[in-house]
């Protein structure tokens, strides 16, 4: 599947396209098929997102998992500071990244 990511313009937060808006949680991302570039251009033009691009992902164990480790680190946070990650209370979250 193809999913769409960007950064929030004002905060810089990593965001994911949900089909009708943006979420900070990759599990909310939806398959944009071939329409990713078109959505990205519209969202960037509307200043709702910055530096938007499409990437590959898959559904693994029922949740969206980006194909490349770089995107999984983007999705979660630094693996060396899980206290700063989006899921600081989940002890197994590091395994999801690696």
């Amino acid at each position: 599947m193809n999913i769409l990511t960007a950064n929030d313009l004002a905060t810089g937060d990593v965001i994911w396209w949900t089909g009708n808006g943006w979420s900070r949680h990759v599990e909310d991302a939806v398959d944009v098929g071939e329409k990713g570039t078109e959505i990205a251009q519209a969202e960037v033009a509307a200043r709702r997102a910055n530096e938007a691009y499409v990437l590959e992902a898959a559904i693994v164990d029922g949740t969206v998992r980006p194909a490349h480790i770089k995107e999984r680190i983007r999705a979660l946070g630094p693996t060396v500071r899980l206290d700063l990650s989006l899921k600081p209370a989940d002890p197994g979250i590091g395994n999801w990244v690696i």
Binding site: N7, L9, A10, T11, G12, D13, V14, V44, R47, N50, E51, A67, H68, I69, K70, I73, R74, G77, P78, T79, V80, R81, L84
Partner: protein, 543 residues
């Protein structure tokens, strides 16, 4: 240390106001990202893996306690309570909001700091020796020249759009603590016939094409250094390649043009430059130098240190270096605790270091390119109090220049350019060699890790270097041996096929064992490598 005059402050304040306006226009949609990106980068604001990242300039690594406190304040108020000290003697914040950036720059300006020219194809922060002014063997204090070059290079209209970024280092001792010859221009102050001048090296650098800068001039009179560097930059600006980012650094120009031809053109340009009279008057040099006058050292202090506490004695032996003033010492604060992140410090730790600088080191501290902090003027009688405070704050590690003192770039945990994570590898190696006795037995061993070919972690200059690469989406680590960023400068050589994350830790351990099995009396790791060569290491690594 240098204090802004009215011109410095006016320039920085004006830049804050300008960037505030630019940011407001970006947020209001009056500027596109394509228009805004170069403007934010000129103010050190990158968009990184997780958020905006702000790189703050620390000129030649020097800070006052008040400035250090401001860095802690920014970490606390605008970021996630920590900062990352870099291999360019700067500090970076990883979680900055664009909407906060103008306020942060205003806060920095209030303590004579900024983030100008910490990005872009311009002359970056001038780096120097963290022992400047206190090293017993220096021929002169390098900081006045570093400061002069900071002023000369700030907003230099001719050098704001160079073919590529440009880094200058200034040292004044034969012992090189600044990786001087791995800079675009390296300057070593020397004395010739009783006169101070500069040896000039041009065309060094790391990155994908590492090169050691060749010497192009053995002596430039101190008062003509600006003209000479102007000539060096002009020849680069004229001929440097703008068609290929990967061939745009001056090292490529000097290599392809040849040192002799490059030097000939510089000398020709220098003759023209000297006639223009752009070198600062002696009075200005003296004005700047006066800011770096030695502090009011107490005379007649004892050199005795009570070493009855073995942990303190270990720290003294490892972290404390001789000072030129009797009764004083140089304290190196390690930002490399086992399990920590090289170069990271919490706001509380940054505040503590500011406290210690104010109380024990004439209100001054230095950031080192090895991602540590130096208190340059501590009375030997105060060392135990300093160590006690540091140790209580988790800053008491004793590993300077040992295998635990790892330089590591932020890597894939933070950096959008990285191919692999650096920090976890550093942490695993630190854990493997956590025993202080084992580290001490290995002796000087500089280990440096980069998460990509851009080499921010200086892997080419590591006695042991590690380069993270992406092998079909999986992190892989190449091992290099024999590099040095010091006065015995050398580029490390790749051992062979790479290793996975755990394999690279094992490989490092095997390399150290080859050293232990082969070393002769007094030999450091790099000495043994140079004597026995790569083969014994490869034989063990790939057995």
């Amino acid at each position: 240390m240098y204090a802004y005059d009215q011109y410095d402050q006016a320039i920085v304040d004006a830049r804050v106001a300008e960037f505030r306006d630019q940011t407001a226009r970006r947020l209001a949609g009056q500027l596109t990202e394509a228009q805004f990106r170069p403007l934010r980068l000129m103010n050190g604001l990158y968009l990184q893996l997780h958020a905006y990242m702000l790189r703050v300039a620390v000129p030649y690594g020097t800070l006052s306690g008040r400035q250090m406190r401001m860095l802690a304040h920014i970490a606390r108020k605008y970021d996630r309570d920590y900062g990352h000290f870099t291999t360019r003697q700067n500090i970076q914040y990883n979680w900055i909001k664009l909407s906060d950036a103008p306020d942060i720059l205003a806060d920095l300006a209030s303590v004579e700091m900024h983030a100008i020219q910490t990005s872009g194809n311009c002359i970056r922060n001038i780096s120097s020796d963290q022992y400047a002014g206190v090293a017993a063997d220096e021929v002169a204090d390098p900081r006045p020249l570093a400061e002069l070059l900071r002023q000369w290079s700030s907003f230099h209209p001719e050098f704001s759009y160079l073919p590529r970024k440009f880094k200058i280092a200034v040292i004044a001792t034969r012992e090189d603590r600044a990786a001087m010859r791995l800079h675009d221009i390296g300057i070593e102050l020397v004395k010739k016939d009783g006169v101070i001048g500069a040896r000039v090296f041009v065309g060094g650098g790391m990155g994908r094409t590492p090169m050691i800068a060749p010497e192009i001039r053995d002596f430039v009179p101190f008062e003509e250094v600006v003209s000479y560097l102007e000539a060096c930059l002009r020849v680069y600006n004229r001929h440097g390649r703008r068609d290929n980012k990967y061939k745009a650094r001056i090292k490529i120009l000097v290599h392809e043009m040849g040192k002799e031809e490059y030097t000939r053109q510089v000398e020709e340009e220098f003759l023209q430059m000297k006639a223009l009279g752009i070198d600062p008057p002696i009075a200005e040099l003296e004005r700047i130098a006066a800011h770096f006058a030695p502090p009011a050292y107490k005379q007649g202090l004892s050199d005795e240190i009570d070493r009855s506490d073995p942990d303190f004695a270990l720290w003294v032996d490892t972290q404390v270096k001789p000072h030129k003033q009797p009764g004083y010492a140089i304290v190196n604060i390690s930002l490399k605790p086992v399990g920590g992140i090289p170069g990271d410090a919490s706001s509380a730790q940054i505040d503590l270091i500011a406290d210690l600088a104010e109380r024990y080191s004439f209100d001054e501290l230095r950031v080192t390119h090895a991602q540590n902090i130096v208190l340059a003027h501590v009375k030997k009688a105060d060392l135990h109090a300093v160590w006690t405070a540091l140790d209580e704050a988790g800053l008491g590690a004793a590993n300077l220049d040992l295998i635990g003192d790892i330089i590591a770039c932020p890597g894939l945990d933070y950096c959008s350019l990285a191919n692999a994570r650096s920090i976890p590898v550093a942490q695993k190696i630190q854990a493997r060699f956590a025993d202080a006795g084992r580290q001490k037995d290995l002796g000087e061993l500089k280990l440096k890790i980069s998460g990509c070919i851009n080499a921010c972690g200086h892997h080419h200059a590591g006695n042991i270097g590690i380069l993270g690469v992406d092998r079909k989406g999986v992190e892989n680590y190449q091992l290099l041996l024999g590099g040095s960023g010091a006065d015995d400068v050398a580029l490390g050589q790749i051992t062979g096929p790479g290793f996975d994350e755990d394999g690279i830790v094992d490989a490092v351990e095997k390399a150290t064992q080859v050293y232990l099995d082969n070393r002769e009396a007094g030999e450091r790791f790099v000495d043994t490598y140079r004597r026995i060569g790569m083969k014994p290491f490869k034989d063990v690594l790939y057995a």
